[in-house]
Symmetry: D2
Subunit: 339 residues, 4 copies
């Protein structure tokens, strides 16, 4: 592919809008030529705010857009596999937000379809792999900076929403581990050199949002993952932090340790007053990973323009789902689960 | 008891010497009147360096020392229960280093004996409960500062000793969880309000010291403990840190989070040079907890002088052992263990 | 002005290239339509790398470019005043890199010319005013968050270049205070509410680069600035840091203190190994202020599109130069200088 | 001197009590045999709380105490020189709190008297030289860890006392630089290798306590000190901090920088809640330097017991006063002052 990549986006919700803005304004080599949403006001936003030339109410329309090279899917988890397969059949490259699917068979079906289209790129958006700090950590580890890495301790913690708005989406989220911890699982695999998972164990509790009990979910969870070869990971997920969002990961090796994201600070400001010395923390994942989303899309677009393979494979996404499902099983069935 | 407490110490190894120095020089209200060690050079050290008036080769001699009020036991784990019982029978107050025992029946036997001597105080040295930072954290939590605490994440990590000297003591240590993590277990119970443990799970790996395989031990372990009422703890123990000793504990509540010991810094010095901006970390637990050992002994002596009950009960020590044993079982038998 | 702003840039050196890239790729509402440089390879870079439609070898050509709305001047300090005046006479809006000039009369001449063109915007690039952290600090202070601010302590420290390459440019730089500390001076004025300067004092030393002696310059300088009403600032400038670039500013008020940029960290990675616990620092100002340069240009373009007055006036730039000159005088003449 | 040092203390105010407690309970090799205070209740405290065998209402009585080896003077600044001279004439070693005197002639008179008693030790209590972190910094610098040190930036900031109680003592304090900054001056000299001061400049402001105007003092001051050989120091003193006490010092060398005391944290506790992530700071200098006071006294007692010269000489104390006086002159006369 020479020159500019013509991209269409499906899904213009909160995160979809962010991707659309990046594609329209900040990605050299990409052009946002079409957008798709069932909501008329979202289509109107794309037209007016971003000047997107064409909008569609359904994905079929989007895929038929003339000259389209690639689609960005920022749609509900449940429709990811069908949409990816449809896009591949239409001859389009695909970027899809994580997770690939909540169902392992569907993951494998997508992998199978992708194999039938060897010239098309498919990448699932595990955005942390494109964060400058995680990239730095991974490169140091790969260069032997901490000896042999063997433990990852990772957490994804969201600031509490007292309204509990998210509880209504819990039944479709796959539960806390599939919704939140897949990021940590993917990081653990990446930073440990993609070992094979062997066994998982998880526990959880409802600290605040009792409504989660109806679908067997929790608002705080702890997990352990064992890999072949003696590597291990421990994961913490929370939806009830008082102070902000935190994503932090510790990688322990035989010669040293790397921590990414320990302090969770919003910016370089520190205030000292009658309450002590304080920093403000990032309210959501967006402030923490805004630049990573940009780098992620740049990477994908560069892969299309220069016919390179994205760093992150469909198999990686399948593995994250597979381990996430096992953690969910462990939580619900209250037992260690072999993989 | 009015006035000065006459103390005898049994055990003058590395930690025993520290306790002896504190008792001899820095504890108002205490007098170190006798010391006991099977090693002649250690007894000589007590005489010459500290001016201890009397020394004994065995505990029986020490307990018979005229006018003795209390004994400090800084002896091997395996002899703790017998020595505590003998001291109680001799009418002495007892301070004993942690753990109480590696055997649950022995713990219960000590508790039973102590009940027969209601006027005698017995305290097991879970020193972190006397560290100013942990005390501050506990008081803030007890005052409702983070709402209801429901998760503790705690770690005890030692700097790697490349010689692997400790491997020879591993068979008698009870394994990594009983040797190291009992501290974290005790902290978790204390900070969460002493909930009843329900189930544990643990995994481990040998990262460096292959000799540990002979006794089924590991040099890095991860554990999860579930308590009644929805509280949970996750614990990390390591003997292979490259940069120093670290003890850190995070307590998560419904309204906030407290972290103790995050940065592990040795002192207030920060160096910026070609290697970045750096702090030096504490090489061993001693630099981190030196003041806590002092406060611990002061607390115990104060309890004797003013007939107060030590904050830390024998039951607390029994529970730490009980959970530690379950973690060991989980590691060896590769299954979750109900309590 | 409705719609898109057509911008031309003069100067395609290191920083000029950065501005050109931003204008060409990342500023919604701006179009980079022309570029100007005496160097043929720089003009070629603009054409090939950025697709700039027209290039010129001199500013006169650039200013005559049809349809041009605004110019960005990223040229040597000494030509700033003449170029700004020429651009204003040609009816163009002007963004010019700091400092406005090293000569006070020239500053005043530019101010006078600008007054003759009330519909044209002129802004000097004191980029730190657009850094998210400094903006946050300024807003907190303006909202009374630290009571009445009365002291600013600010530093600009560059990593040492052992080659001493910069020494050859020292004669034209105006000296360390006019070259580096004008940033801190501008910050101090902004954060203290633009008080009138009253008296300055400065000292300096050559720690490494003896070649600076020829032009009366130093590689490390300390300064104090007194303002009317009792506010004060102290400034540190260094060209010889071993570990990286640092820009840090402390603002002290009657009710609290704010520090911006204390830790100078490059990213969220922390390494613990045999050298202690370490962070990497930003090698140059660019890594620290990359986003601020982007926000600065967005601000300027927005002011043109919506006919708003830039937050930063020519008078601010004149004052920074005026205080910088006085600091230079104090250093050379070894006396306090009244303003 | 073999064995135990018999010490008497004069002055049992807030800091005197701390020294007395240390001498009575925590200094191996010292015995507090007498105490002196004009206040009956303070003498009573010494008797009851510490068991000091003898008390006196005046220094003459104390110096006549049989068997006395050394005196600790924790008395008002103005009486230091006379008391030191009297003690020397009585054949006693002397420890005296800083500053030696507010008057340069008095400093020199003490130095002269001390020369007449070469077997007696005199040390002025510049306590920071005994703080573990400052000692670590000094040793690293002396070992070449940051190349040649050439700039010190140091601050002593006290938490604001809204009652302004201290204002009544301001007339006798010598002003903010002689009262507070002498510590920073002494540190700067020590860390830079005792260079000769050449010129000073200072400014100040009254931010809160208007009552200070009556005696020409300020509650916030900034100063610059130039030394021979190109070394420089900049000093900040404040009595109006909102968040606590802070003592911080930065030493810049040709190969690196060391910072001591940057974060001012009270302990190892960090709280994350709706107010951000916070640490608590030390309320007063005592929490920061409690251990340093102990080490200082141990050092002095060891010097007596082993006939060693204290690290800190009377000349050091004289120099601190001399520079402090010059800073006061600069503030009052609004000019740079040559030394």
């Amino acid at each position: 592919m020479s020159g500019i990549v013509n991209v269409g986006i499906a899904g213009l919700g909160r995160l979809g809008k962010r991707h659309a803005e990046n594609l329209a304004q900040r990605i050299p080599g990409a052009k946002l030529v079409a957008a798709c949403s069932p909501a008329a006001e979202e289509r109107e936003w794309a037209t007016k705010a971003l000047g997107v030339p064409a909008t569609y109410a359904d994905t079929a329309g989007l895929l038929a857009h003339p000259g389209l090279d690639a689609v960005f899917l920022v749609t509900p988890n449940t429709v990811h596999p069908g949409q990816i397969i449809a896009a591949l059949k239409a001859g389009k490259h695909v970027f899809c937000e994580k997770p690939l699917s909540l169902d392992l068979d569907e993951c494998l079906a997508v992998e199978a379809e992708a194999k039938r289209h060897p010239t098309l790129k498919v990448m699932i958006g595990y955005v942390r792999r494109f964060d400058a700090s995680y990239v730095d950590a991974q490169e140091r580890i790969a260069a032997g900076g901490i000896g042999r890495p063997f433990i990852v301790r990772s957490e994804t913690c969201d600031m509490n929403d007292p309204s509990g708005f998210f509880v209504r989406f819990a039944p479709k989220s796959g539960g806390i581990f599939l919704d939140m911890s897949v990021h940590d699982i993917d990081l653990a695999r990446w930073l440990l050199g993609s070992p094979k998972p062997r066994r998982v164990f998880s526990v959880g509790t409802i600290a605040v949002h009792q409504g989660l009990a109806d679908c067997g979910d929790v608002d705080n969870g702890l997990a352990i993952v064992e890999f072949d070869g003696g590597a291990m990971a421990t994961i913490y997920a929370s939806r009830t932090m008082a102070h902000g969002h935190e994503t932090a990961t510790e990688i322990i090796g035989t010669q040293g340790r790397i921590v990414v994201g320990r302090d969770g600070r919003m910016n370089e400001v520190e205030v000292a007053d009658a309450h002590g010395i304080r920093i403000r923390t990032t309210p959501t994942f967006w402030e923490r990973f805004e630049n990573a989303f940009l780098r992620e899309t740049m990477h994908f677009v560069d892969c299309l323009r220069h016919d390179r393979t994205p760093g992150l494979t469909l198999h990686d996404a399948t593995e994250a789902t597979r381990i996430g499902i096992a953690l969910r099983t462990s939580l619900v069935e209250r037992r260690a689960v072999d993989l």
